[in-house]
Symmetry: C2
Subunit: 152 residues, 2 copies
């Protein structure tokens, strides 16, 4: 009898997503450990660096986290001097989360390490395949069919 090889069989795509994600998170966490940051806080800092003063609700939507989790995570970034809450220029009753110069420098520094670690995870994929993957994942993570308008 031929024994099928585990792991080369047709697998449910949910499991493959979970396994691939776990590899990515493990690699990023390892890269970020010396900086005492976890992968989630890194992604939050990245959003704050890339966006122009997002609100906490924008950040909750972007990371698919509960607003209360975002508050706690922003607190941590604030405590480390990487981010500040300021009144939003468009509506001073709202709070925008803004990166500090120190936060921007820190991000630039750890980003290289995180990208190197993801590079290892994606080692078997060509540059084109990585872009293909990014585009496909984007349509799962942020489907057009469900995407809320997040422009401030």
């Amino acid at each position: 009898m031929i024994v099928p090889t585990l792991g080369t069989m047709l697998e449910n795509i949910g499991l493959l997503l979970a396994l691939a994600s776990a590899r990515g998170v493990a690699a990023a966490s390892k890269a970020l450990a010396p900086a005492e940051l976890n992968a989630r806080s890194y992604s939050l800092l990245e959003q704050i660096v890339l966006a122009d003063g997002p609100s906490q609700r924008d950040l909750a939507d972007a990371l698919r986290l509960d607003p209360s989790q975002i508050v706690a995570l922003v607190d941590q970034l604030e405590d480390r001097g990487f981010a500040e809450r300021r009144p939003a220029p468009t509506d001073r009753r709202l709070k925008a989360v803004v990166v500090t110069d120190q936060g921007r420098r820190f991000y630039a520094q750890v980003r290289a390490d995180v990208e190197r670690s993801l590079d290892d995870v994606l080692a078997d994929l060509s540059r084109d395949e990585r872009e293909q993957l990014r585009s496909l994942l984007h349509r799962i993570a942020r489907p057009e069919s469900a995407a809320p308008e997040l422009v401030d």
Copy 2:
């Protein structure tokens, strides 16, 4: 000033993997809740149904879990009458995990629900794109560069 839209910007592929995986796990968990099974136990049962009497080590490798976690999960499947440990035919000192008839029927039943839920998650992707995604994820989750030979 143009305010960039959060979530449409270039994002790190690690975050996209995590977000896509979280959507998949949430959908599968919801589909499996009436059957009182979680996504992880479902994936384990799937491996046991599809493989021919894998060992607990095979299962740990396939799901990238610690062998002790696999022992606990196999215990749960055994308690529900879905799986049994038997001496492996190739080496009676080893234990093979074998699906029971009841386990096979249960899997067939919940599988339809899980696949429907993943279908929702992948709604924006064509059939070809889903296969493309599966193939790319497979090479991240089980890279050829690192894949152990799991044939019994």
